[in-house]
Subunit: 483 residues, 2 copies
C-alpha cells in the first residue's frame, strides 16, 4: 500500500529517519535516525538480543572493532572477492553498478554475473548511461570495502568491516577458551558494517553504513545432522521458496530434512528465525519467506544460503532482510592459514576446525520493512500498527490543557510511569493533532489527563488500533499498558 515516497515523507515528518547531513545536501547512502526511529531500532535490537541469545545457554554477545587490519580481509577473501561490477560512462564519467543497470533495462535479476557476461549483455542490448545516454566502458570490478590508513603514514593498512562476522571469527579461540570450551558456541554482534556501494538506493535498503545483528554459531560439522532440541521444531512448517522453483511452499522441518536433504542443524535454526519474524514481530506469514540462492547468487563463502525475505510493498515485492548462511570452515581455516595460528579445537575426544552457521539480519532494512508492513489507513487516519514490543513508546501522556494544574498532574503520571515503560510526554496542539502524531509512529496507547482527573484520579486511555477510549484509575494504569 504505501509507496516509497509515502514512507520517505512519513519518516521525515515523524522523526523516523532522513538523509544524513541533509543541511549539506545529504550524503548518498547514509541515513540518520530521529528520536522515534531510534526508539524503534533500539527496541528491535534488544528484542533480537533477547530472542537469539536465549536459544542456548552458550550464546553470548561480543563487541569487536569496526576497523580491522588488512590481513583479516586477505584471510577472509574480501580483499580479492568482495567486489562489485561497475560500468563507467565514457561521456559523463558516472559509475553505474553494472548488474543494476542491466536489471533496470531487462527487468530481471543479474546479481552474480561475471564482468564479461555483463559487458556482453550491455553490448548486445545497447544499454547506455542512464544519466546522459553515453556509451558505457567495459565492466570492471571495484572492491566495496573502505580502506583506512592507521597511524602516521603507511603504518598499517586497514578496512572498515563489510560485515560484523569477522570479529567473532578472529576472536574465536579467546572466546572459546573463556566460555569453557563447549560447542555449539554462539557469538553475536550487533553493530555497524560499511560497504562502498556504487549506487545506494531505496532509502534504508542499500546503504553505505548500516547496522547488522549477526549470530555466528560454531559447531562440530560431524553433528550437522542433529540438534538437541530438534523434536520441538520437527513439525513446525517453514515457508520456503527453493531455488529453481517458481513458488513458495510450506514444508515441515522433518520434510525439509527428508525430502529437501537439508541438514537438521541448519533447519532447526531456520525455524527459529522464522518464529522470530512471525511470532515476535507479528509479521503475517504471507509476507515472509526463505529464498534459496543458486550457486551463482551465493556469497563466495557460503555452502548453503537461504535469504530471509519480507514482502515490502513500497519496494515492489519480496526483498532480502537477512540470511542463514552455512559458511563451513571457510573463515576459520582462512585465518588459520594466514595468521599461522591453529583454529582447531579438541572436543569429544577429537580435533577439528569448527564449522559456522551464520544468522544474519539487517536491522535498518527491518525498520523500514516494519514501517511498510504495519502502515495502515483507517478512514483519514494514518497509523503504524507496530507490535507493542517494537513501538517507539508504550504510551503518550497528554494533558488536556497546560494550565489549572492539569499539566502538573500529567507530569506526575509521566514521572510515575517512565521508569517502567517507554513514555512520551506531549502538551502541544489539540488532542486530535496529538493523536494523529502518535498514531503515525505507532505509540500503543494515549493517556489523557483532564479536569476530571483532578477530582477523581481517573484518566482516559485510548487504544491506537481501535481508537476506543476507556476511563481508568491512575492506580490501574500500569496493568492496562501493553509491553
Amino acid at each position: 500500500m504505501p509507496t516509497i515516497e509515502v514512507i520517505e515523507q512519513l519518516a521525515k515528518r515523524r522523526g523516523l529517519f532522513w538523509p544524513s547531513s541533509e543541511i549539506y545536501g545529504g550524503a548518498s547512502g547514509l541515513f540518520d535516525y530521529g528520536p522515534n526511529g531510534t526508539a524503534i531500532k533500539r527496541n528491535l535490537e534488544n528484542l533480537w538480543r533477547k530472542y537469539f541469545l536465549s536459544l542456548s545457554d552458550n550464546f553470548f554477545e561480543v563487541e569487536t572493532t569496526n576497523i580491522m587490519p588488512e590481513k583479516v580481509f586477505q584471510a577472509s577473501g574480501h580483499v580479492s572477492s568482495f567486489v562489485d561490477p561497475i560500468a563507467k560512462c565514457k561521456k559523463c564519467g558516472t559509475a553505474h553498478r553494472a548488474d543494476h543497470i542491466v536489471e533496470e533495462f531487462l527487468k530481471e535479476n543479474f546479481e552474480g554475473m561475471t564482468p564479461t557476461e555483463l559487458t556482453e549483455l550491455i553490448k548486445k542490448h545497447k544499454i547506455r548511461c542512464s544519466k546522459c545516454k553515453g556509451e558505457l566502458e567495459e565492466v570492471a570490478v571495484m572492491n566495496m570495502m573502505f580502506p583506512l590508513e592507521m597511524g602516521v603514514g603507511k603504518e598499517s593498512k586497514s578496512y572498515l568491516r563489510p560485515e560484523t562476522a569477522q570479529g567473532p571469527f578472529v576472536d574465536f579461540m579467546q572466546n572459546f577458551e573463556v566460555l569453557r570450551k563447549k560447542l555449539p558456541l554462539g557469538l553475536a554482534v550487533v553493530g555497524r558494517a560499511y560497504r562502498n556501494e556504487i549506487s545506494p538506493r531505496q532509502l534504508l535498503s542499500r546503504m553505505r553504513e548500516f547496522t547488522q545483528a549477526e549470530l555466528q554459531i560454531f559447531f562440530d560439522p560431524s553433528k550437522i545432522e542433529e540438534h538437541e532440541k530438534w523434536s520441538e521444531m520437527a513439525k513446525y512448517k517453514l515457508v520456503l521458496f527453493p531455488s529453481g522453483d517458481k513458488k513458495t511452499t510450506e514444508v515441515t522441518c522433518d520434510d525439509a530434512v527428508k525430502k529437501l536433504k537439508m541438514p537438521k542443524f541448519y533447519v532447526y535454526h531456520l525455524a527459529k528465525v522464522q518464529q522470530f519474524y512471525l511470532e515476535k514481530l507479528s509479521i503475517q506469514k504471507e509476507r515472509f519467506r526463505f529464498r534459496e540462492l543458486s550457486e551463482e547468487e551465493r556469497a563466495f563463502y557460503n555452502k548453503i544460503h537461504w535469504d530471509i525475505e519480507l514482502n515490502v510493498e513500497a519496494l515492489g515485492g519480496f526483498k532480502e532482510v537477512g540470511g542463514v548462511h552455512y559458511r563451513t570452515d571457510h573463515d576459520l581455516a582462512g585465518h588459520a592459514k594466514v595468521s599461522g595460528k591453529s583454529q582447531e579445537v579438541f572436543v569429544d575426544n577429537k580435533k577439528f576446525v569448527p564449522h559456522v552457521l551464520e544468522l544474519s539480519f539487517g536491522i535498518d532494512r527491518l525498520v523500514m520493512s516494519l514501517v511498510d508492513i504495519f502502515y495502515a489507513q483507517d478512514k483519514d487516519r494514518t497509523l503504524l500498527k507496530l507490535p507493542a514490543l517494537v513501538a517507539p513508546f508504550t504510551a503518550a501522556i497528554f494533558p488536556l490543557v497546560s494550565k489549572d494544574g492539569i499539566d502538573k498532574k500529567a507530569m506526575e503520571i509521566y514521572d510515575q510511569l517512565k521508569g517502567k515503560f517507554r513514555i512520551l510526554y506531549d502538551e502541544s496542539g489539540s488532542i486530535g493533532r496529538r493523536y494523529m502524531r502518535i498514531d503515525e509512529i505507532g505509540v500503543v496507547a494515549a493517556i489523557t489527563v483532564d479536569y476530571d482527573t483532578l477530582k477523581d484520579n481517573t484518566v482516559t486511555i485510548r487504544n491506537r488500533d481501535t481508537t476506543k477510549q476507556e476511563r481508568v484509575k491512575i492506580a490501574d494504569l500500569e496493568k492496562k499498558l501493553i509491553v
Copy 2:
C-alpha cells in the same frame, strides 16, 4: 591496588577485553570485548540512557552515521583544528606524539602547547627518540581524523566522526521540528568515534576507535542563569578541582554559582553528572572529581570545560573519563555559515541560535575504570565488587554435578530466570573453580543446585561480597536476586 598488567591479564583471562585481531599480532589502539566485558558495557550504556534521558521529558536518543561529509568538519573546525603535535625521529622514522614524549621526559603535562613551544623544549632538554635515541625533527601537526573516499574515485571526501556530537548538531533543525519546537532539547548519541591517535596507550584509555555516550542540550543562552529544577540541587555538594588550585574542594551548587561565578544551567548538570557516578555507579566520592581546564587545555570549541575524572590506580591517579562542555553556539553557527541554512529558532517570541551544553562520557574508559575501582582481594580471592546494575550477570547457576538429573533441574531454573534476569549457566569444573571465575567478573550471586534440590526444591545462594551462603526455596529465588 591493581596494576595495569593485573587488569590486562584479568581482562584477557575472564573475557572482558583484549587487543583486536590478536591472532594477527593485535591492532594498535583497537580492543575487542569478550562476552563478560560486552555485558558490562551494555549494562553501562543502558544505565546511562535510563538516567540521562530521564532528566527531562524533552531529552531523546538519536542515531547518526559514523561517516560524515567533509563539509561537516570544515564547519565544526575539525579539519583545521583537530590536530596533534608530532615529532618524527630523523633516524628511525618513528612518529611520536610530541607532548607525550616531552611529558615522559619532564614528568609534567604539556597538553595544549604549540608546536613551536614543544620544539623548543625538545631542543632545550635534548629529548631524543625513545626507540632508537635518534634526533627528532621539528614538531609538526597531524589531523587526527580518518579520511574516506565515498563512491567511485573522488565522488565525495568524508571522515569518520571524531566525536558523536556533530550528528545532533547537523540534524538539530529536523529534530527540533519533530519534537515540537521546545527548548531545552536534549539529543543523545551512544556510538562510536574514531581518532587516529599517534600513540594509543593504557589499554582502553586512549584508543583509535571507542564508544562515547554524549548528550547535547540545546538551550536559550539568555536562560543560562536558571534551571527549573534548581532548588532540588541547590544544596548538593560538588567535588571540584578548579584550574589554578592545587586541591579538591567540596562546594554546594549555590556556592558554585555565587562564589565561583558559574552559570546555574551548567552547575545543575554538573550535579546530575556527579550523582550518576556516585549514586548510580556507587563510586566513592574520594575517587571522583571535576577538574577545570585552563584556557590552553580546553578544546577549541569550549567556553567552560570541566573534565570528569576518576582516580584509576592502575593508571597512577586521576584520569579523564568524560567532560561537561559549554560549546556555546560554536557548532550551530558554524553549520549555519557553511551550509547556508539558518539554525535560528523562534521561541518565547524571539529569534536566536541555541547554545549547547554537552555532557560527554567515554564508555570504554569507564569500563576500565570500574574494573580498577571495584577490583578487590579478599584473602586469596580476586573479585570485582561491581554494582549489581552493571555486573555482567545477576546470578550464575551451577549444577553440583552434570548427572542424576541435577543438570536438568539446574537448566529448568536457568530457563525460568533468564527472561527476567541476566543469568549465566556453568557446569564445568569444581564448584570452587566456578566461584572463582564468577567472582573475577563480578557476578552478584551464585545458585548451586544439588541432590537436596531434587528432594525439597531448595538451592544454595551465595553472595559475591560476603561469600555467605543461604538455603532458599526455588520459588523464592526471584525475590532474593538483586538487580
